[in-house]
Subunit: 409 residues, 4 copies
Amino acid sequence: MFSETIELRGHIIDSLILPKVLDQILTHGANFKISEINIGKKRADQSFARIEVSAETSEGLDELVLRLRQHGAEVIERGNAQLAGAPADGVFPRDFYVTTNQQTFVRIGGNEVEVRPAMINSAIAVDRRKNSARAVKFFDVNKGDEIVVGHQGVHVVPVQRSTTHTDLFQFINTIIDADEPKAAIIRELGEELRRVRTAKGKIAIVAGPAIVRTGAGQHLARLIEAGYVDRLFAGNSFAAHDVERALFGTSLGMNPDLAVTRGGHENYLRAINTIREAGGITGAVHQKLLTRGVMYACVCHHVDIVLTGAIRDEGPIPGVTTDVIEAQKVMREKLADVTHVMLLATVQHSLAVASMLAPTTKTVCVDIDPSAVERAVEHQPLQSIGLVTDVEPFLRELSDYVSESSVQE
Amino acid sequence: MFSETIELRGHIIDSLILPKVLDQILTHGANFKISEINIGKKRADQSFARIEVSAETSEGLDELVLRLRQHGAEVIERGNAQLAGAPADGVFPRDFYVTTNQQTFVRIGGNEVEVRPAMINSAIAVDRRKNSARAVKFFDVNKGDEIVVGHQGVHVVPVQRSTTHTDLFQFINTIIDADEPKAAIIRELGEELRRVRTAKGKIAIVAGPAIVRTGAGQHLARLIEAGYVDRLFAGNSFAAHDVERALFGTSLGMNPDLAVTRGGHENYLRAINTIREAGGITGAVHQKLLTRGVMYACVCHHVDIVLTGAIRDEGPIPGVTTDVIEAQKVMREKLADVTHVMLLATVQHSLAVASMLAPTTKTVCVDIDPSAVERAVEHQPLQSIGLVTDVEPFLRELSDYVSESSVQE
Amino acid sequence: MFSETIELRGHIIDSLILPKVLDQILTHGANFKISEINIGKKRADQSFARIEVSAETSEGLDELVLRLRQHGAEVIERGNAQLAGAPADGVFPRDFYVTTNQQTFVRIGGNEVEVRPAMINSAIAVDRRKNSARAVKFFDVNKGDEIVVGHQGVHVVPVQRSTTHTDLFQFINTIIDADEPKAAIIRELGEELRRVRTAKGKIAIVAGPAIVRTGAGQHLARLIEAGYVDRLFAGNSFAAHDVERALFGTSLGMNPDLAVTRGGHENYLRAINTIREAGGITGAVHQKLLTRGVMYACVCHHVDIVLTGAIRDEGPIPGVTTDVIEAQKVMREKLADVTHVMLLATVQHSLAVASMLAPTTKTVCVDIDPSAVERAVEHQPLQSIGLVTDVEPFLRELSDYVSESSVQE
Amino acid sequence: MFSETIELRGHIIDSLILPKVLDQILTHGANFKISEINIGKKRADQSFARIEVSAETSEGLDELVLRLRQHGAEVIERGNAQLAGAPADGVFPRDFYVTTNQQTFVRIGGNEVEVRPAMINSAIAVDRRKNSARAVKFFDVNKGDEIVVGHQGVHVVPVQRSTTHTDLFQFINTIIDADEPKAAIIRELGEELRRVRTAKGKIAIVAGPAIVRTGAGQHLARLIEAGYVDRLFAGNSFAAHDVERALFGTSLGMNPDLAVTRGGHENYLRAINTIREAGGITGAVHQKLLTRGVMYACVCHHVDIVLTGAIRDEGPIPGVTTDVIEAQKVMREKLADVTHVMLLATVQHSLAVASMLAPTTKTVCVDIDPSAVERAVEHQPLQSIGLVTDVEPFLRELSDYVSESSVQE
């Protein structure tokens, strides 16, 4: 039998850290002995546990300890993180450490250094001179960069349950199903948006075409006009739908006031053509071709627009980043200082953005498809709220709420 | 080769009757020769076609002609319908004719008699003395009743496209998907409801528990109070949810103002217990135990309540018809004079009701699940509108619209 | 501040009992102080915790302690359960205790008595002379029966994680999604079925019409013939589909060998008529009218058939219990000794059966709709496996596996 | 009133051309008079109709006639197509004609020229010297290119129903739902694949990651080895999943033989790293690092691999076209000679490919999500079959069928 000793600290019981660690040990077919445990007597107290883990093979133990570290376990013997040089541009050394969605520290030269920015499913590049560490993707790494390998010296700190009730996201932190009430949550989200705006937080919207198609574009535009949106992430098709609606009053040829199909993709393509001729969205606004809609509101209110491409795109609209790797770089940069993100009616885009968020970014996902909501919020435990509903009434109510409460100020 | 001659009359091209007939012939591997055709030159004109159908076997031809009749074909040689006595109570004679969802006539003693009431998937019982025919289910038939067998002498008249644009249901007649706009349709439905109320039509609501759970019960109650509902069809669980909400403010223990689970099924069971103790819903209203909610509004505004049971039910609430065959009889009777039916957020109940509707009953189905909507409206061609959306905002908007327009009157 | 002391015993950390209890306390806005804790050092060791819970109101504390009891907490001061007489037939006394899906004990005359049979969402009736307690539904109770009120003297024992790996259901205990591999699980289930048959366990199948429609009836029949099914629970429509398939080779008129629609509900209604004329399924088998299919296999292999009704039913087939309350009584009785239940492609029926299972019944649910699977297994924690897949290949593979392994015996 | 005369030719009734034309006229609020009609008497005969269409405004009539042309109507007065030069690179002239999913001809210099290649939602560029026309996307057009504007001189020929029964796709041409039988269709598809291979048709597979995740990769590899696949279209993630499975036996860390999660994205990222280090998939095969799986089979059997990128991608794997516009160009080129395409378990990719297909390409779509299937096949009327099912058993059965029948050859 091979064994190693791990330690856990914090709200290890009510934040489920200790149970998850024991579960991992059992699932791996290993054994444990709790050599010391000290449970906080009151809610605010921290707890502590020291556990001796034993497994039948050295490899099995190593694999297991890696998992336990990902749940916040610290290994007693504190070595520095092991580093290896990237063998080529865009290639990590074998056995590179893969990050989780948690706050992470690496021990370099005897000091614990926080990995910043943090991002899930990345490697960790260390700059020993600057005593810094950052999460890196394949495209970030150059030959010779020092990358953490193995898991020694890596320490993960799971998001822990706050001990107060003031945090809406920890309090709700669930998915509201199709047959559950949403009115109260939407009001609470309205309150949260107001707090964020006052506190100078940064709010990003990730917007799918269904917003325009269902007629909710006007409500999103109102949120923008009222100053509740700092960044807009969308695909080429969202922008094209919005422009079609603004120019022709239709959405894929469908007139929202009558719901009768007239002409399918025609107006959609003509809208794109108009923007291409005008040199882009900003150009079309300045030439007074585009005088309404979400994109118009973004231009007028200086909201950063981050448009990215997909293989189904028509056009594209000028300004869309068509190279997906370039797009990831831009998105990551534009998400770095975002404190709150709303993922609205767009599965692919939501998943892309969700995978780039810092572990502490508050996340709201709204979609009529329950599995889309589930996948979008799964990596933001204790930080996310999902709503399974039609995006149009959601945006209408949210926008009504913040407008009314603004008036009352 | 065996052959028979059929005739088609009416708007046989734009109502798709002729294309469907030719399609059936081809699908059955048979052949056709159009011996006479006279296409209406203008929109309002009727058309006529006489077609000689030929197939390789006599049985194949017979089977095919049966299908063609179901699409409205008339067979030249006009015999009376063939009748046979039911061999026992609740048993049809072999080879009984099975009805479609269309207006149907049978030839008795040389006269065409309309089958009334009409209902899909039934047999036809004929009363020769009264010169009448009606659709019958297994439970309707007694030994010796005369039932139509084969398909000779049966003539079906498909719903044909109206030649004017005034009918909302023919004009829209589609399913509005999750990502399509609903606001305009909801307004049109509001207008339709007002017209129906004025014209003394009968409006039935088929209501699922999600109405209460999402907090839409108050909006349905407003529709009832404003006189827009004549009948309410629901299951035991809808009533129990509504009463739980009225008595405890919760829904399966969930408080709609906060969305925090407290106690699961407890309040639900206590609500049922309270109603059982009071002897039923009307009793509970009279004893002032029940003072709000949908059931309360129904009692106060004399809306017929038709509650039926299912094997998942708790209770039941007194007044629920727990025998499903008895329930079908009651439902059928209470649907007989209904002109408009709204199927709201309840798959099983909606399908049950939809299968009992006359071919001309206007139908609206609202559900967040697209396949539920599709199945509920498929038997009401040219008479139905489906909306894939959250039932709460739908009912809120509809109820707001009819309230506002009432005020303006 | 009001306070009470609770105790927890068993695998309270890795079976998540302690974390859930602390979570409930926090969610209720209450406070805790752990006055004693003793964590099992090794996997097989039991743990113990004594916790002082305090809340601002007496009612809030009482409500909270009720919840904690439902998670297995025992209250120090050990009184007998409080009893009250039922005020009328079918009515519980106010404040009746509502059962959970866990093993439950009540203290009567100083002794702890297990509630048997146990069932979720029921009241508890006590027979003091026999020193026994049982879960009762509304329809079970007669005026004067002694029912547990409040929660004093009630002790719940949550299912705890086993300390060995031999239990497939605890080991897997999850939902296998549409895009996840199922082959290995199906083999393990096959092994489990063989063990159950050898150990004289009782296997119940809850079967939906999609089994017949997809052509999987033959595979279910093979399972029956091989002795792997003791009870079959289904609706009228399952039986009717199966008989239609057996008599006409079609399913709602569709021929599975060609997938071309011929005649919709006609054959379905004729099949029902044939069985009605024969006096029922057994009669039809004895008269050699019915010579294949699932129902035929059940009759030949003496499998108990429990058929229940719904408001959408045609017919019904003789033998169907059409009163839903009667049906519940029959189902409950026929489920009492079942050790394993497979819920196959039928949402409503699965939920009805799932709500009647003892907490220890092993449950497998197979459906192509993820939300159906989720709802069906949610009440059997640590005892259930869900598979999101097409039921036809599932039954084919399972049936192939047990056939092959039988041959090799 | 403004009026114009149109003509229809072919199987205008059973291919629904005449009914759709009349429906469009009515929907647009216009009027018609059938001045001449000649219905084919037998199945193989062609029909003809001349219809005078009248509308209240000149614009309304023009808009309507455009729609009628898209359904195959020819306008009597036969002018040449009108052309205008592209005002800039990547910009079409205003009022450019937008193509449908049908075979299309344009009249140039008095001659009808077929648009080749044809593609939906494109403009038409004309080369008058070469007397040729082709469908062009924004990225295809250069300043000054001659583009068709308006709809004069454009003639569309809808796919018409064949008069024989030999075509599987016309015979089935439907979506097989989750609860419908698939075995017979899968055998028919197997037969079709054999015919295509013999006839030197080109078969393309569009593959989603669920193929690998469900364990169906081996079955797809068998199809490739047996020579049934000419092109493979997939995203970066399909390739990465396949390589992870080949190198580590896992899929997102999940081991298909046991369904226990081990390590999430780790192996996925390591697999990508390995391929990046090897310089690509072909490199990895040659270096004997990659020795199994779908990508391996493609390399060994010279199947064209077309890999494209999306914003959620990790890596990418070398060889992936990360620019989405470049990717569209490659896909279009590689689809040009494809006769049959199978869209397997991938919504986004399927929709992208479906929008690039020629109107005559036979299409099969398999997905467990009904709405994905519906959207993927909607543009290939009379040419497509959809199956709502789990992709693993589908590919297993198909691959078993063609293997067995190959053995019997």
